[in-house]
């Protein structure tokens, strides 16, 4: 197939004259070194909520006397952050000051020599181009042949635009690449998912069990804060991780499990609890369905059996089960968040849900509280047209239980096939760097090549922007309004984000872009207000406040309106499952032909000389989005490959030596990665932080630094229940040169 949409190398990304010389280094100071100290009261502050990750902490942006952004600090009233942002939020300031930002709308053009480049264009030209293409697709194939892939605030507005246009293909990587299996498992068990922020009552727990959930490195703010409170109050932490994670070092029990075997441990724990009667009998009796089937099914999972699989000693398994029971119901078997690991993830999360049910922690203090959330009403607008087709048509009858769209499913639906009468022809990509986000890059690129139109809305020249037909530069969250943040939690809260400064360069907000496009597409009724301020003011008034008031207070909390935070003793609770009970035996799964009670499945192990590739977060970075942020690059400028000293010795690898990795399919990493020889990782795995190894040279601080785990994740273990993309079934070996690369 012709590479219609070549990845445009950066040199061509914009007109030469406008480029800053590429000599900026991590040491280059980006903001004026103003030495005069100013106190908060002297500085002007404006409210915001953070966009560096999706916890959405509310904060204040402070400016110095010259009107430059000086610092961002948390809003004391915000239940998500309690006045303390995480390092990424504090360093969010670098998003604004990054001189590598996208600066103007760009259009892909082919010059007379056939070379593709980006040409800076006016907004008008960009919108005309997009509108014309979209009208054509609508006329020729129907509006359903378009999709929105989005992660982040602007998604609300582009989503509205796409629905108004007639498509429902709206997917976020935070589902099938992230928490999807967890949501499906908890919906199957308790009739409701966890969503974000999770309703884990960590603050009041007596025992927190973390299964590969590396809180503290996973810097979701409120959870980390509550975990710290729990440590202060002497709560027991049990961590199951093949790596000595930060939180493992703070745990009473660290179970250094063989990766991919967690389900064996979980089922054994269930068995041990049941065998010993270490479960909440009243709770199970009153609220659950299918206990006997569960009991019969897990009988075979003894600690001795699990030892052979997980390498966790039987006494450890029993001792930790006992610890959980002793703390119950104030115990949390944490469901984790990024859970798309091995393809049987929904079943693993079912086991987690079942454990919580047995210990009676759902709906109880120190377990999981009941969420409360304020609904934001939008101004009345015409109903959306009903799409006749969706991405699901490309799935056959698979993944019926997925409650949200699959980003990878959209990819599948974009690649033409005989079973598909019409494939997706246009993508709007907003705030997601799909090349580094979806596994199996080859497939993503194939899908992209099948598009007639790809619009990328981003703030940075990421990998994904190189594939766009049109690049729309969004201003950063510090320079714009966005939709109202309404967060779930122990109580509802709403927050405002407003521009602290004027947008730099020729950048605009998603709202403005969506509205302009809506006008071009004759859909202006869906954007009834002339300005975003008016729209927000209208919405705030429905919530009993106003834009003017919110500009002053930034955040508003609401008292709980409905039930209590926890179930009252003996309270009758109606669960939203088929049986109306907590389903230890899932009737929904049974209906779909899946195991109603989870069963252990064995996963492939690394061949000799290969190591399992596992990855995670560094507290100071968010995926690939912060990799070029000057403030955060200063804290960490590349990822390293964690290697156990025994393995390093076998291979003769020195600490800090740069090496290449090659995966089981012969893919060699594009860049070398620095070896970190550390006892903190098991001998059968290597570990790295996700989000590095950027190949776009325009990212002057991060280009070529470290490697991208996504590039090596070519084998995807798709979850048969909900379509999540299991990404930890890949194995790598070490290379000391990049030779293989040339052959490919």
């Amino acid at each position: 197939m012709a590479n219609r949409r070549d990845f445009i190398k950066i040199s061509a990304l914009t007109t030469g004259g406008l480029m800053l010389a590429g000599l900026s280094s991590r040491n280059a100071a980006v903001f004026g070194q103003n030495i005069t100290y100013k106190l908060p009261a002297d500085l002007k502050r404006t409210p915001t909520y953070c966009e560096v990750c999706f916890w959405k902490c509310a904060g204040w942006v402070y400016k110095n006397e010259s009107g430059e952004i000086q610092k961002i600090i948390g809003n004391d009233d915000d239940p998500a952050c309690n006045g303390r942002l995480c390092p990424r939020g504090t360093g969010g300031i670098g998003m604004y000051y990054d001189e590598d930002r996208l600066k103007e709308p760009l259009l892909r053009v082919t010059d007379s020599a056939g070379k593709q480049t980006f040409k800076p264009v006016s907004w008008e030209e960009a919108f005309d181009f997009i509108a014309q293409k979209m009208q054509k697709i609508k006329a020729e194939h129907g509006p359903e042949c378009t999709a929105l892939l989005t992660h982040g605030s602007g998604g609300d507005y582009f989503g509205r635009l796409l629905k108004a246009y007639g498509s429902n293909n709206i997917a976020a990587p935070s589902y099938a690449q992230c928490r999807g299996p967890r949501e499906v498992a908890f919906i199957a068990t308790f009739g409701e998912g966890l969503d974000s922020p999770e309703n884990t009552d960590i603050r009041d727990t007596r025992c927190l069990v973390l299964i590969g959930s590396h809180l503290g490195e996973n810097m979701h703010n409120g959870q980390v804060q509550e975990m710290s409170d729990a440590i202060d109050r002497g709560a027991t932490i049990i961590t199951v991780d093949p790596r000595f994670s930060t939180v493992a070092s703070k745990s009473k029990f660290w179970l250094p499990i063989k990766p991919s075997t967690d389900l064996a441990l979980l089922l054994t724990w269930i068995n041990v609890l049941i065998e010993n009667g270490w479960y909440d009998k009243d709770y199970v009796e009153k609220y659950t369905y299918g206990f006997e089937q569960l009991k019969a099914e897990v009988k075979k999972y003894s600690p001795e059996w699990a030892f052979g699989i997980t390498t966790i000693a039987p006494e450890q398994i029993r001792a930790t089960a006992r610890e959980m029971y002793n703390a119950s119901p104030a115990v949390i078997i944490h469901p984790g968040r990024h859970v798309t690991w091995y393809g049987d993830d929904t079943q693993r999360l079912r086991a987690v849900a079942i454990l919580n049910a047995l210990l009676g922690s759902w709906g109880r203090r120190g377990g999981f509280y009941r969420n409360e959330k304020k609904t934001v009403n939008h101004h009345p607008m015409p109903p959306f047209p009903k799409p006749t087709r969706t991405w699901r048509d490309a799935m056959g009858d698979k993944f019926q239980l997925a409650d949200l769209a699959l980003a990878n499913g959209v990819c599948d639906a974009t690649i033409p096939s005989v079973t598909l009468d019409c494939h997706i022809r246009a993508w709007i990509v907003n705030g997601t760097n799909l090349l580094n986000t979806l596994p199996d890059q080859k497939k993503t690129i194939e899908a992209i090549h099948n598009l007639d139109l790809m619009v990328v809305v981003d703030t940075m020249p990421m990998e994904i922007t190189g594939y766009a037909d049109v690049v729309l530069p969004e201003c950063t969250y510090l320079e714009r309004y966005d939709s109202i943040r309404s967060l779930q939690g122990r109580e509802g809260s709403i927050a405002l984000r407003m521009p602290a400064v004027e947008p730099k360069y020729n950048t605009r907000s998603a709202w403005w872009m969506a509205k302009q496009l809506a006008q071009k597409l004759d859909l202006k009724d869906y954007f009834p207000f002339d300005s975003q301020e008016e729209e927000l003011d209208w919405e705030f008034k429905q919530l009993g406040t106003s834009l003017e008031e919110m500009q002053r207070i930034g955040l508003r909390r609401y008292k709980r309106e409905f039930d209590d935070l926890y179930y009252a003793p003996g309270e009758t609770v109606e669960f939203m499952t088929n049986s109306g009970k907590i389903e230890l035996y899932s009737t929904a799964f049974a209906d779909q032909g899946f195991d109603p009670v989870p069963r252990y499945t064995k996963h492939e192990e690394p061949a000799p000389g290969f190591y399992r590739l596992i990855y995670g977060r560094a507290p100071m970075h968010t995926f690939s989005r912060t990799a070029n942020n000057p403030n955060l690059v200063d804290l960490m400028d590349e990822n390293t490959c964690w290697i156990n000293p025994k393995v390093a010795k076998e291979w003769g690898i020195q600490n800090d030596q740069y090496i290449w990795l090659e995966n089981q399919d012969g893919i060699v990493s594009e860049f070398p990665i620095k070896a970190r020889i550390t006892e903190r990782i098991r001998f059968d795995s290597i570990y790295m932080v996700h989000g590095f190894g950027h190949s776009n040279k325009k990212l002057s601080r991060t280009y070529g630094r470290g490697i991208s785990d996504s590039q090596l994740i070519t084998r995807v273990h798709v979850d048969p229940i909900m379509g999540g993309t299991g990404m930890r079934g890949n194995f790598v070996t070490f290379r000391f040169d990049q030779a293989k690369k040339q052959e490919l």
């Binding site: 040491n27 100071m620 804290l635 960490m636 903190r680």
Partner: protein
């Protein structure tokens, strides 16, 4: 395995991965200071001993270069400063606790002294010299009357200057390699030795050269003795000092120290000087040049190795 890393990405230039704040300027400054101190010490000493005639080079010739050595040293110190425009702040305070401060003040006293001394002896060296300005002659005549007092002052100040070049380093408790009281006497001895070497180089009198060869031999012996003691002290001291001394005993400075400082800078010139005393013919310039080079290298590696040595925690 123990792994200790900075996870917040600190890499402050001049500090990480180890201290590198003092490059060539400070060791050169210390060398020049020590050399000048050595020369001025002997000038003062032989004046007090009333042996100006026999030791013309030591008393009259060699001191002529000391104002230049000291000025160059001060210039190097200036080059080392990172906030140069504030240089004058050095002379707004006298802080006795700070070797840097009293070093600056000692230089403030000894530099004019050396200029004066040089001027007074210019005519001894260049008999046809004419100051042209009678005022200068008058001033020199005035000071000429206090030559003895000046000699005393110069001798004392030069000892202080010589010791200062060592104390500047040994005052830093934070750098285990420097943290030894031997460094003051050691640098003084080394300074005197380079001073003696410079005099040998400049002297045209065989007798004077022989005397200074003897003196130098003695100084080298003391120096070797002090160095051996310094290492024995380190070995018997805390873990951090044992670690620090390893830089010279197997570590990265081993070769340069034992070959260039000990071998070519001390032992070999000592042998050559013994030859000279035994009247075995070798070009007389070799030994002093080796001593001077050895003294310079010694200061360079002490300054650099010291910055690498650190407390362990």
């Amino acid at each position: 395995m123990r792994e200790e890393i900075i996870v917040s990405g600190r890499s402050n230039p001049l500090i990480d991965p180890h201290l590198e704040i003092w490059e060539w300027q400070i060791p050169s400054y210390l060398f020049l200071g020590g050399l000048a101190a050595g020369i001025l010490f002997f000038a003062g000493l032989y004046t007090i001993m009333k042996k100006e005639k026999e030791y013309k080079t030591a008393v009259a010739v060699a001191p002529l270069i000391t104002p230049f050595l000291l000025a160059l040293g001060l210039f190097f110190l200036f080059l080392d400063l990172k906030h140069k425009l504030y240089f004058w702040q050095l002379y707004t305070t006298i802080k006795l606790e700070s070797p840097m401060s009293w070093g600056a003040w000692v230089l403030m006293i000894i530099t004019p002294l050396s200029i004066l001394w040089g001027a007074m002896h210019l005519k001894t060296v260049f008999p046809r010299w004419d100051w042209k300005y009678p005022l200068i002659e008058e001033i020199l005549d005035f000071f000429g009357k206090y030559k003895m007092q000046m000699a005393w002052l110069m001798t004392i100040m030069s000892v202080i200057l010589g010791i200062y070049t060592g104390i500047l380093l040994s005052a830093f408790n934070a750098r285990p390699l420097w943290n030894t009281s031997i460094l003051g006497p050691l640098f003084l001895t080394s300074g005197l030795s380079t001073g003696a070497a410079a005099i040998i180089l400049m002297s045209k009198s065989h007798a004077e050269r022989l005397t200074f060869a003897k003196i130098d031999l003695m100084l080298i012996a003391i120096e070797i003795f002090l160095i051996v003691h310094m290492f024995m002290g380190f070995r018997a001291s805390t873990q951090v000092q044992i670690e620090a001394s390893k830089l010279f005993l197997g570590g990265e400075f081993t070769t340069i120290f034992w070959v260039f400082v000990m071998g070519f800078g001390l032992v070999l010139p000592a042998i050559l000087e013994v030859f000279e005393l035994q009247k075995i013919k070798v070009p007389h310039q070799i030994a002093p040049v080796l001593v001077l080079a050895g003294g310079l290298v010694f200061r360079f590696i002490m300054v650099h190795a010291g910055q690498i040595s650190r407390w362990l925690y």
